[in-house]
Symmetry: C2
Subunit: 334 residues, 2 copies
DNA sequence: TTGAAAGCGATACCAT
DNA sequence: ATGGTATCGCTTTCAA
C-alpha cells in the first residue's frame, strides 16, 4: 500500500525533530546543526520525501514556474523553447507550456495561465491585448514577448529587427540584378509579419523599384510551397522570392525544383528568414537572415529575471539586428 | 500600485458573500443561486480575480499538471510534445516541461519533477531505473513511457513495435536485391535503438544474409551525415543503409549526394524510421517506417487518465505496429 | 540551534 | 443555498 504523500511532518517524526527543522533543511541554508541535518536527510531518504513546491509557493509567493505560450507548428519555436527551457532549468525554474493556434487569441488562454501563478510569462506567438497586458501587470506577472511586440502595451519584448531584416533582403535581391521580385508574406497580422514585409517594401521603393508580386502563407512548409506554385504559374513569374520564414522558403524551393522544373538560383532566387538548422542543409542551402537566437534567448531571460526582481521596472523593447547568411539559394551580385 | 494577489476573500468582501461561496462559484457546479453567482462573477471580474490553482491543489490533491520529460534535439519529439500538450489542454491539464540531455539520466531530474506533484508523468526520452519507478509509484505518480520501455519496471509504456519495424526494413532491402547492407544505429542504449537494430539483424540472419556494416549516431542530422560519410568512404561501401531515424536518414542522403557524389537510389538506398513531415518533402522523399503517432498519443493519454483514476491498475505495455511508407530514397524490388 | 504557532489561498464538511 | 471552520504542506516570525 503506497503511502500517499509523504510530508515534512512524517520526516520530522521519524527524525525526532520538529517540522520546522525539516523545512529548514530543505530550504535555503538556514542554520541547522550538521548532526540534525544528517538525521533529517536520512529520514527523508528513508521515506522517499520530496518537498511539495506547490505548497511552498503559497507562502513564498513564488512558484518558480515560468509560463511559455507558443504555437509549435512553426519549426522556429521548438528550437527556441528548447533553449529557453534548458536555461530556465539551470536557473531552477520550470516551464509550463501552453499551446495556441496561430489564429487563436492569446487573450483566451491567458486567464488560465494566470491561474497557475507563474512567476513570469514568455509569449512567442501571437500577441496580447493591452487589456490583458494590464491584467498581468495587476497580478504582478511580468510578460516578455519573444519576436513580437505590441506598440501600445506596457510589456517587454525581445525582437529581431525585422524591418531592417526585410531591407537587407531587398538590397540583396536588387544588388543581384533581379527584375521580377515577389514576397510570400505571413498571413497573421503580427508585428513580425508586418515588419518583414514593411522593411522589404520600404527599401524597394527607396531604390525606385516599382511593383512586386505578393502571396501569403502561414509560416509552414506546405502553404509556402502552394504560394510559390501560384507565383510560378503566373505569366510574369518572379525571378526572386523573399519568403517570410525559412519554413516557407523550403516549400518555395521544392515548388520551384519539383513542381515547376525551375533551377535555383539560375531561374529563381529564394531567400528565407530565421536561419533554422535545416537552412544549412545542402539540399536547401537557403540564403537567409539569421536571427541572433542565442542572444535573444539570453536577453529574454535577463529581462524576465529583472522584472521578477523589480516588478516596477519599466518595460523594455530590445531590437537585435539580423545578419545576412549567404548560401546558394540566391544569386549573388554580378 | 498593483494589488498583489487578489484572493477569493477580496472577491467575497466586494460581493458581500462568504469566501466559501466564492469558492463554490469557481469550482465544479455546486448549487449557488443564479443571483449570487452573478454578483460574485461581477466582483471577480472587477478585481481581475483568477483562482489560484496551486492553492487548490493542496486540498484537492490534484495539480492538473502533467510532467513531460524529453530531449528536443531529436526532431521527432517537438512534434509529439505539441500533440500531447494540445490534447492535455483540451482535458484541462497543463504540461510542465523538463528537458534532459540524451546521455543524461532521467533519474537525476526525477526528484525535481516529483516536487511539483504532477498528476502524471510522460517520459519520451531515455528511460528510468526501476528504483525511480518505484519512487514514483510510492508517491502515487503514474508514469507512461513514450516510445521506450523498461523490461523489469512497473510502468506503462506506449511503443511503436520497433523490432517488427526493423524486420520490415530488412525485408524491404533484401527484396530489392541489395548486396552490401549497413545500419546506422542510435548510440544511446535505449529500447528503441536496440529493438530497431535487433529486428533488422534478426531478419537478416533468418534470411541467411551474412554480415553487414554498422556505424552509430545520436539521432541528429549532423551525426547521421558523418556516420554515412564514414560508411561511404570504405572500400566495401554499402549499397543500402538503414538509418535508426529519419533525422539520421536526412543526413545520410545529403552525405551521399553532396559529400560523396552518389545517386539515390541508383547507387545507394536509404531507409529511415519515424516518418517525420520532412520525410515527405521531395528533396528527401524518404522511404521509412511510419510510427502511428496519433494513436500513440491517444493511447498514452488514455493510459495516463486510466492510471490517474485507478492508481492500483497494473501497468500496460502497448506495442503498435509501424507501417512501411515507400518513397523514392530506396530502390524497389525488381 | 530548535520548536510553536500563525499564515498562504483554496476546498470540503458540517451546520443553519 | 449559504456561512463557519478545519485542513492541505509548507515557510516564517517569534520565543526559548
Amino acid at each position: 500500500m503506497p503511502a500517499r504523500g509523504v510530508t515534512s511532518l512524517d520526516v520530522a517524526r521519524l527524525a525526532g525533530v520538529s517540522q520546522s527543522t525539516v523545512s529548514r533543511v530543505f530550504s535555503a541554508e538556514d542554520r541547522v546543526s550538521e548532526e540534525t541535518r544528517a538525521r533529517v536527510l536520512a529520514a527523508a531518504q528513508n521515506l522517499g520525501y520530496q518537498p511539495n513546491v506547490l505548497a511552498r509557493s503559497l507562502t513564498t509567493q513564488q512558484s518558480n514556474i515560468v509560463g511559455i505560450v507558443t504555437h509549435i507548428s512553426n519549426p522556429f519555436y521548438p528550437y527556441i523553447i528548447e533553449k529557453l527551457t534548458r536555461k530556465l532549468q539551470e536557473m531552477g525554474r520550470q516551464t509550463l507550456l501552453f499551446s495556441v493556434e496561430p489564429d487563436q487569441d492569446v487573450d483566451e488562454i491567458l486567464p488560465l495561465v494566470l491561474q497557475y501563478r507563474v512567476d513570469a510569462l514568455i509569449i512567442t506567438s501571437a500577441s496580447l491585448s493591452s487589456e490583458m497586458a494590464s491584467q498581468c501587470e495587476r497580478q504582478g506577472t511580468p510578460v516578455v514577448l519573444f519576436n513580437r511586440y505590441v506598440p501600445g502595451a506596457k510589456v517587454s519584448a525581445v525582437c529581431c529587427d525585422n524591418i531592417e531584416g526585410g531591407r537587407l533582403v531587398a538590397n540583396l535581391l536588387l544588388d543581384a540584378g533581379h527584375k521580377r521580385l515577389a514576397h510570400i508574406a505571413g498571413r497573421a497580422p503580427t508585428s513580425t509579419n508586418r515588419d518583414r514585409e514593411k522593411g522589404f517594401a520600404d527599401r524597394l521603393r527607396e531604390r525606385g523599384y516599382g511593383t512586386w508580386l505578393r502571396d501569403e502563407s502561414d509560416h509552414a512548409y506546405q502553404s509556402g510551397r502552394e504560394a510559390a506554385q501560384r507565383l510560378f504559374r503566373r505569366p510574369d513569374r518572379p525571378d526572386a522570392i523573399f519568403c517570410v520564414s525559412d519554413a516557407v522558403a523550403f516549400g518555395a524551393i521544392d515548388a520551384a525544383r519539383y513542381d515547376c522544373g525551375l533551377r535555383i538560383p539560375e531561374d529563381v532566387s529564394i531567400v528565407g528568414f530565421d536561419d533554422l538548422p535545416t537552412a544549412a542543409w545542402p539540399a536547401y542551402s537557403v540564403t537567409t537572415i539569421r536571427e541572433p537566437v542565442n542572444r535573444m534567448v539570453d536577453l529574454t531571460l535577463e529581462l524576465l529575471v529583472e522584472r521578477i526582481e523589480h516588478p516596477q521596472a519599466e518595460p523594455v523593447l530590445e531590437l537585435l539586428p539580423g545578419q545576412v547568411v549567404k548560401r546558394t539559394s540566391a544569386r549573388l551580385a554580378i
